[in-house]
């Protein structure tokens, strides 16, 4: 042992305490850095000198600088982030939707419905009053606008969320790329695992990124012996060693909107989403918003159709001298010799797969007969949905569709093969001609033959096409009133005699409402519902009466009665009931999702606090450490100076 050995001991102490002071400084400096884990210097003694009789200590050295971290907690934190991200997005979408509905105010659809039917009552009490007619039309417009506005908001909402999906996928790629880079750096810094768990700051960064990734998509992290974090989404690696697997979105049309579906760029495999923002976004877009949009469409369609059925069979203050249907049939349903009927009722008797229906009642129709028309489901899980027929086989009655229905097809579901937007059935309607000079009215019955007998393309008595309806009108009515088919396949009825006008009544086939002849509303769902221009341009055509007398209010009363009529949900709900159902469900959904969100927020912050408790920097603690290390440093310096004095003593004595 020499004095120089002691000087070395002092040096080791000074250096070690300096390192500890530096680490304390590092901790204090990063007290507010997100994801930072406090570090601690682990001192250890230098190998002692063997003095035969005893071991002499030779000072201190820094063993390692370690992170104070709980890996299990980190994994919980990541799970919490995924759940929180999912719920946050879902809650956001629902809250936004609740705002769109604007319910319980004066600007909501329930108010618009109330006002509309109140205006209808006013109309029924004052059928001659033009200002009341105009007021009713305005209320109709407000109601339609309300539906359009909500529908548009939901549509835009879906598109926005879709953009967010794209953004989220971009973020994921960026994060995974960095994680892969960090994997490489950490393996390098830790000498391929030899110095395991020493690249503290790099690991902090990686933990932070993994947390951010979890917020986007639920992941599973497996750390290898070399220090790499391999990341799985479902059962597919998104990061493996130094490689990040890029994801991208592909577009497909879903209910009229292009929606992005995330998938792996290289393999095309869809991401398995269980939680996280991405899952929340896609759910909000395809379930939450779409679900409410479907309900709104059902309501808007039902209001329009029920009202149109009654309106079309009434008589206005002024009768018609010319009318053209709002809707056209497709060219397949025009010809009376080769065309398909304007509507053919069907019933699913079996199915081959989700886009091929088998219907035994269609056996015997010529192959390809229905191609180009659409299947419109009228009952079952897919009621209201339409699919184009791309193939038809008459041997089995096999109807091939361009794409599958959203929900499973049920045996016994009914549908129509048609090109119209509302169902038409076997029946008839009356055209009533009025001689305006004498007031005499004459009724002509026009049959809409849709009984599927005889099976086309057979001869007389076959089901109605647009041409056969035109021909029947022209055969029944006097030559002054003619029906014709326009170049766009719409039905037009015109009177050439100035004193001969017409109106309609007793439509048991719903042909008039489905074709848009003398209707109140036009449009097929919430997005395009509108007051028929014919009516809004001349309010006198609004039909209050079922006779030619101006004080007759029977038709208006019948329309007003629709307010409480059980027209929806198989005759168990009125328009109001149905709408209250939508709002009630939304309110409960919002309340539930915000509850879950708040709960998850609590859980996540609890975990976050737990992490902070273990890994966070406490200034008090650091200050204490600072003093400790400072004092140790001072003592070591004192020790060095004592050794120096000893040396001096020896040198001076010499």
């Amino acid at each position: 042992m020499t004095l120089f050995t002691s000087l070395n001991t002092a040096l080791s102490a000074l250096q070690s305490q300096m390192a500890a002071l530096q680490t304390t400084g590092h901790n204090i400096a990063n007290a507010n850095t997100p994801g930072y884990t406090r570090q601690r210097v682990d001192f250890e003694t230098m190998p002692p000198q063997d003095m035969v009789f005893a071991q002499l200590g030779k000072g201190v050295r820094v063993g390692r600088i370690s992170r104070i971290v709980d890996e299990v907690l980190n994994e919980h934190l990541r799970g919490g982030s995924s759940a929180l991200g999912n719920l946050q997005v879902r809650n956001q979408a629902l809250t936004r939707l609740e705002g769109f509905f604007n319910e319980l105010t004066d600007g909501d659809i329930s108010t618009a419905m109330d006002d509309f039917f109140n205006a209808m009552q006013d109309f029924s009490q004052n059928p001659q009053d033009t200002s009341v007619r105009t007021a009713l039309i305005n209320q109709g417009k407000i109601l339609a606008d309300g539906f359009n506005f909500l529908s548009e908001k939901i549509h835009v909402g879906r598109e926005q969320i879709d953009q967010e999906v794209k953004g989220a996928v971009g973020d994921i790629n960026q994060i995974t790329k960095e994680i892969a880079e960090l994997n490489r750096s950490i393996t390098g810094a830790e000498n391929g695992g030899y110095d395991h768990d020493t690249a503290n700051d790099l690991r902090d960064r990686r933990d932070l990124l993994l947390n951010q990734l979890s917020e986007m998509v639920q992941v599973k992290v497996i750390e290898t012996s070399t220090g790499c974090a391999n990341v799985l989404v479902g059962s597919n690696y998104i990061v493996f060693d130094n490689t990040a697997y890029e994801v991208k979105t592909t577009d497909k049309v879903n209910n009229g909107v292009l929606v992005s579906t995330p998938e792996f760029t290289a393999t095309g495999i869809n991401l398995e989403l269980r939680a996280g923002k991405l899952k929340g976004l896609i759910d909000s877009r395809d379930d939450v918003l779409q679900g409410y949009s479907n309900d709104l469409n059902t309501l808007a369609r039902s209001i329009a159709f029920e009202l149109n059925k009654v309106h079309s069979g009434g008589v206005g203050l002024q009768r018609l001298s010319s009318i053209e249907s709002v809707y056209a049939v497709s060219r397949e349903s025009v010809s009376s010799t080769t065309g398909a009927p304007i509507a053919t009722q069907g019933r699913v008797s079996n199915f081959v797969d989700s886009n091929t229906i088998i219907d035994s009642s269609l056996v015997g129709y010529a192959n390809d007969f229905f191609e180009g028309l659409e299947v419109m489901m009228t009952s079952g899980a897919n009621a209201g949905q339409r699919r184009r027929i791309v193939d038809f086989g008459g041997t089995l009655g096999a109807v091939g569709l361009d794409k599958p229905f959203d929900k499973p097809i049920g045996i016994g579901d009914t549908y129509q093969i048609t090109s119209l937007y509302y169902p038409v059935k076997n029946g008839s309607f009356n055209i009533n001609l009025t001689n305006e000079l004498t007031g005499q009215a004459t009724t002509y019955n026009i049959s809409i033959d849709l009984d599927k007998i005889p099976i086309p393309p057979a001869g007389p008595g076959r089901d109605s096409t647009l041409e056969s309806i035109r021909d029947e009108i022209n055969a029944e009515l006097p030559p002054q009133v003619r029906a014709s088919i326009t170049s766009t396949n719409r039905l037009k009825i015109e009177s050439s005699a100035p004193n001969l006008t017409f109106s309609f009544s007793d439509d048991t086939s719903d042909f008039l409402a489905s074709m848009g002849i003398n209707t109140f509303f036009t449009g097929t769902d919430a997005s395009d519902m509108a007051v028929n221009e014919l009516i809004s341009n001349s309010p006198r055509l609004l039909t209050a009466a079922r006779s030619n007398n101006p004080g007759d209010n029977t038709n208006a009363q019948a329309m007003a009665d629709l307010r409480t009529a059980m027209t929806l949900e198989n005759g168990t709900a009125s328009f109001e009931d149905f709408y209250q159902g939508i709002v009630g469900t939304l309110a409960a959904d919002v309340a539930e999702s915000s509850d879950r969100y708040e709960t998850q927020k609590l859980i996540s912050s609890q975990l976050e606090n737990e992490r902070e408790r273990i890994s966070g920097v406490s200034i008090d603690e650091e200050a204490t450490n600072l003093i400790t290390y400072q004092r140790a440093y001072q003592a070591a310096a004192k020790f060095a100076s004592v050794i120096d004095q000893l040396l001096q003593t020896i040198i001076m004595q010499m």
């Binding site: 319980l104 039917f117 109140n118 209010n553 009363q557 709002v583 309110a587």
Partner: protein, 648 residues
Amino acid sequence: MAISGTPFASSVFSRVSGTLSRNVLLGNISRANDAILLAQEQISSNKRLVRPSIDPIGTNYALDYESRISRNDQHLRNISFMKGRMLMSDTQLGQARQLVVTAKQIQLEMAQDTADAQQRRLSAIEVDELLGEAVNIANTQYEDRYIFGGSLTSAKPFEVVSGAVVYNGDDMEMQCATANGLTVAGNMPGTTAFSAISGEIAGNVDLNPDISAATKLAWLNRGAGITPGLVSIGDGVSTAEVDLSGAETIGDVIDLINNNGLAAVTAAVNAAGDGLRLTSASGTVIVQEVDGGQTADDLGILTPAAGVVSPLNGTDLDPALRLETPMALLRAGAGLDASGITITNAAPNATYTASLNFAGMATVQDMINAINASGTFVHAELNDAGTGINIKSRMSGARLTLTENGGNTLSQLGLQMTLDRVKIEDLNGGIGVTHVVGDDLRITRQDGTAVDVDISGARTVADIIAAINNDSQNTGGLLVASVVPGQNRISLTDNSVGAGTLTAANINGAFAASNLGLDVAAAGNTITGNNLNPTGVETESVFTALIDLKAALLANDRWAISSVSAKLEYSDEAILSAQGEAGAHSVRIEMTETRVSDENVQLQKLLGEVRDADLVDLATRIQLEQTVYEAALAVAGKIMQTSLLNYL
């Protein structure tokens, strides 16, 4: 409501990092902030339910209350529209009654022997003014609408034509919703208020149309229609179910059975033309209901389970008479005599006659249209039972008669006015039969029994005949009164045995026996009365009474003036009952109004409870949250500025 709670630090002793204490503090502050914000929002909007999600169940209640309140408000609006109209009707009817009272005074005075021709002429002018006034009252407008026109509200419903008053309106009562599921008539048409349309000449023969392929199922069974559903068709070998629920017409049913049933069983209209016929190649036809349905029975083709021998002839489906019914199908397919009918409506200053030939008419609608367009001021319509047509006069002060146009169409339609259907005031050229309080005529039987008959309650000749035959003094019903077939005379046949002579005489100062043409000598046990000379049908309106009174005054005919008294009485009663109806109506409406407004007050209260903010509660809560907030801030200020460093 979100789960309330604070992200807290565990109480177990452990380290507290700066970020941790900051997070906990921020959590507390933001929670307090949220609560204060919500309370502020609720206070400023005065609504507890600022968003539906605050209370989903409450929201459902609130929406329901809101829509019920809105409906009730509308009902109250409807009621106020209607009250105005009914009040106006009531007032106008009151004035009309005043007119009748004045007319009655004039009639009483002028019916005296003391009145001379000059006085009667002057009174006629007065009556004419009353008539003009009555027409004005009947043409009252309220809010630009003629209130007594039924659904004809845009043009004057009453107009004077050739000295008579024509009603152009109809009998429509405009329905008006006054409460949920409750509608009441919101107007009083001229038919009710003034009896402006005559009693109908009702077709009393069932026109019994046959069916055809175009006959709609809804018309069958007298308009009751059929229950849509499935039927099972069998031939004893096999069976097939046929779905008839989509069928609209008989033709559809036949097509469906022929195409979707068994090849061996064919359907058609039966030979009688009134039902279906099913023919089976196997010789047996079985038609059964499916799943307890009613369709086969309604179509008249239900068989026993064992079936019947082919062909199965269905029962008569008895379709109701409709405007669309082809003329050829009437009278079980025999059709109507095409010679048609002659309509005569005789007004004071002109007689309107139309002879209508039914040749070439395709449907019932053509026939009815032709009658209505004949320019004779009549109204033809289908009767409610769906068996025939009725014809009424729209012209007050004119007499309507229907006669054959050379054939027997009128009797085929059941529209012939046989004497028993004539009203007694239309007898004797419109003078009618006078009667007094108490018994009006005495018929003495051969057995000496005196039968004193009171005819006060009788409206038609048939009523008088019944009064005689059923009189309590007519023991054993031996005295039989009847209408001489094909003639306008009443005959009395006495089946009693005695030495006396059958006689009929006036008693109590009435002239009933003479007026009924019965005070003639008996031939054996029979009296055959004089020709009663019935006139046509007329309306029982106040206009008829005034027009007749005016004519009688001008003619200076004391008997005629006296006989108008009955008509004035009828019209007075009619107006009085209309007024009573209007009054009762108003009372009902007011009751409904009270009920609906009470309900609305209740609903408003309920809505307020569920939707509106409880300000006291909110103020307390905001105060509490404010305290929490301030405390959190104070703690934050303290903790954030202290650390060990301050003390080094």
